[in-house]
């Protein structure tokens, strides 16, 4: 049910089994799955039912580094359903190789096996209203065509809103901002919550799950840990660190001398990626090369340039152009960024309207961020040339002329890391069960637990991990003697 204020809950003296903080894809999925399993859940959302300026202003922060990402008050949404309210719906599962270390010195390994994610792929696809993914198709020895899936996109406020309102198991409280945790003997006993009436209330539960987002999870834990004198995150070395985005840049164009052998998908794109063996052999990270038809006129300009360096080939393409065949393609890429400790979230000297420090986000691209797309695009160029399909012309920055272009897309608004998963508390904030190291009942959901990020858009993985965590929570409460039903995944979609 929808509760007007936490004061009303106090009056009912109700203690929830699980308190979920944040109602985006991770939090809504966990609350819904646990409610379906018969557990009592309190779902706290800091924002309101819909967007409002005052709530959104809490997300303002300062960015250090470059090139600049979208402002943090624009790239995410503080409202019921979280950032799924402006999500584009692009999905792809991580590749098994994404969970491994690929390059010496780059700590990218997940403490779980790929099968742990694959188990939850099918139910996650149902929730996101996606068909099964076809298998990748090899393109030469080193590359493969990888399909993307496009969710309608699912908005989690729409998907589960009515269920939460009708539910006798899930209490949804909007306008409730978690500002701290009380810790006793290695367990969270209360979440400190600023209710929409301005009062601070204490919320008790057996388990707490922080799902506030890929930046807020770090910010809230950093602040709450400071307030608790370091008792909330006893091993804070990695807290806020190893933050990642998927760099998104234009690499150049492809000029076709023959028909393009791939069919564009429903979004007018073809995705090519290196194979796992190629990633290991060339010591790169994962990379999605995204190919679209180029704008009109681009091919003619490219032919003119090609004629200066390879006149016979230029003439061949020019004849093709004269037949009004497709000749020009735009080549973009998004790729895996090495998790770096210096890419991090720290607490600002500035505070929000509630007196909580804002976010300082430090994000830098380095030589390795250039190396991965360089290698991937050369492999594609070699394959296109060997097959007589076309040639690639690179934008100058790809070959090392100057920095990353600051006027490009830059990032995918994929906020990952900061509370990464690791068996080693010095290298991660949560363990393989997504439980905060050293705290018995505090868990984290969402992309902030990703130790590394592949190139796949993160929402599908977020939902897979949320379902996995739901199962763990239900099982751990059962071990504590709580009575509940079996975890069932209801999608709200007609069968």
């Amino acid at each position: 049910m929808l509760v007007d204020s936490l004061g009303a809950l106090d009056a009912r003296s109700r203690r929830h089994e699980v308190c979920v903080i944040g109602s985006g894809p991770a939090g809504a999925t966990i609350a819904h799955a646990l409610g379906q399993a018969g557990l009592s859940v309190l779902l706290l959302e800091a924002g309101e039912e819909s967007w409002n300026e005052a709530s959104q202003a809490v997300y303002e922060g300062d960015f250090y580094g470059g090139p600049p990402l979208l402002p943090m008050s624009v790239s995410r949404l503080r409202q019921f359903g979280g950032s799924s309210n402006h999500w584009g719906g692009w999905c792809r599962p991580l590749d098994p190789v994404d969970l491994d270390n690929k390059v010496d010195g780059i700590d990218a390994a997940w403490p779980i096996e790929p099968a742990e994610l694959e188990r939850w792929l099918e139910p996650a696809l149902r929730i996101l209203q996606l068909p099964e993914f076809p298998s990748p198709v090899e393109f030469g020895d080193s590359l493969r065509q990888v399909p993307f899936g496009y969710s309608p996109p699912v908005n989690f406020a729409t998907l589960y809103g009515e269920d939460f309102r009708r539910s006798e198991r899930v209490d949804l409280a909007l306008g409730c901002y978690v500002t701290g945790f009380d810790v006793e003997a290695g367990r969270v006993v209360h979440a400190r919550v600023r209710d929409r009436d301005g009062a601070e209330r204490l919320v008790a539960a057996r388990r707490f799950v922080l799902c506030a987002g890929g930046i807020e999870n770090s910010r809230l834990l950093l602040w709450a840990n400071r307030q608790s004198g370091g008792r909330l995150v006893p091993e804070p070395a990695a807290l806020g660190r190893y933050w990642m985005e998927h760099p998104h840049f234009t690499l150049g164009h492809i000029l076709l001398e023959d028909d393009f052998p791939f069919e564009f998908d429903s979004h007018g794109a073809v995705f090519i990626a290196p194979t796992a063996a190629t990633i290991r052999e060339h010591r790169i990270l994962n990379c999605g090369l995204r190919i679209h038809p180029a704008k009109e006129g681009v091919a003619r300009e490219l032919v003119t340039q090609l004629a200066c360096v390879a006149p016979a080939l230029g003439e061949k393409v020019f004849r093709r152009l004269g037949k009004r065949l497709v000749c020009g393609l735009l080549l973009r890429a998004s790729w895996e960024q090495p998790p770096r400790a210096h890419n991090r979230i720290v607490l600002s000297d500035r505070v929000d309207a509630f007196g909580i420090p804002r976010t300082d986000l430090h994000w830098y691209l380095d030589d390795f961020d250039r190396r991965t797309p360089q290698v991937a695009v050369e492999l594609l160029a070699g394959e296109l040339a060997a097959r007589g399909i076309g040639r690639i012309r690179l934008d100058p920055w790809v070959e090392g002329a100057g920095g990353f272009p600051p006027d490009d897309e830059i990032g995918g608004n994929h906020h990952m890391g900061g509370t990464r998963m690791s068996d080693d508390p010095r290298r991660g904030v949560v363990d393989a069960d997504c439980r905060v190291h050293g705290i018995g009942n505090l868990y984290i959901g969402g992309s902030s637990v990703f130790p590394s990020a592949g190139f796949a858009n993160p929402t599908l993985t977020i939902v897979q991990l949320a379902l996995r965590l739901s199962e763990h929570l239900a099982a751990s409460l059962a071990r504590d003697g709580e009575q509940h039903g079996t975890l069932r995944i209801e999608t709200g979609r007609p069968a």
């Binding site: 303002e60 300062d62 960015f63 250090y64 580094g65 470059g66 090139p67 600049p68 402002p71 008050s73 624009v74 390059v103 010496d104 010195g105 070395a237 990695a238 660190r241 010591r283 340039q305 090609l306 200066c308 360096v309 390879a310 006149p311 016979a312 080939l313 090495p338 998790p339 770096r340 400790a341 210096h342 430090h362 830098y364 691209l365 380095d366 030589d367 390795f368 250039r370 190396r371 360089q374 290698v375 991937a376 050369e378 492999l379 160029a381 070699g382 040339a385 040639r391 690639i392 690179l394 934008d395 920055w397 070959e399 100057g402 920095g403 990353f404 272009p405 600051p406 006027d407 010095r426």
Partner: protein, 78 residues
């Protein structure tokens, strides 16, 4: 250089992007130019920081291509 970004409104963001564009056009490595001292110090002091991995000089993947004025051409291209 003060690269701190406050109140990132649309015009301010455009201004910063122009500023970074100037840096990029100058040929200075953006990372080195933009990395504030505090962040560099954090990197050095961090007990779990990872090394950078191989640099850009080793990026060549395909020996069969010729780089010419931005084009990746086959050796047989005329």
């Amino acid at each position: 250089m003060n690269n701190k970004k406050t109140s990132p409104s649309g015009p301010a963001l455009a201004g910063r992007r122009r500023l970074l564009g100037v840096i990029a056009a100058s040929g200075a490595p953006v990372v080195a130019a933009a990395l504030p001292g505090a962040a560099r110090a954090a990197t050095v002091a961090d007990p779990v920081a990872t090394p950078s991995g191989p640099g850009p000089a080793s990026h060549r993947a395909s020996g069969g291509l010729i780089h010419r004025e931005g084009w990746l051409l086959a050796r047989s291209d005329r």
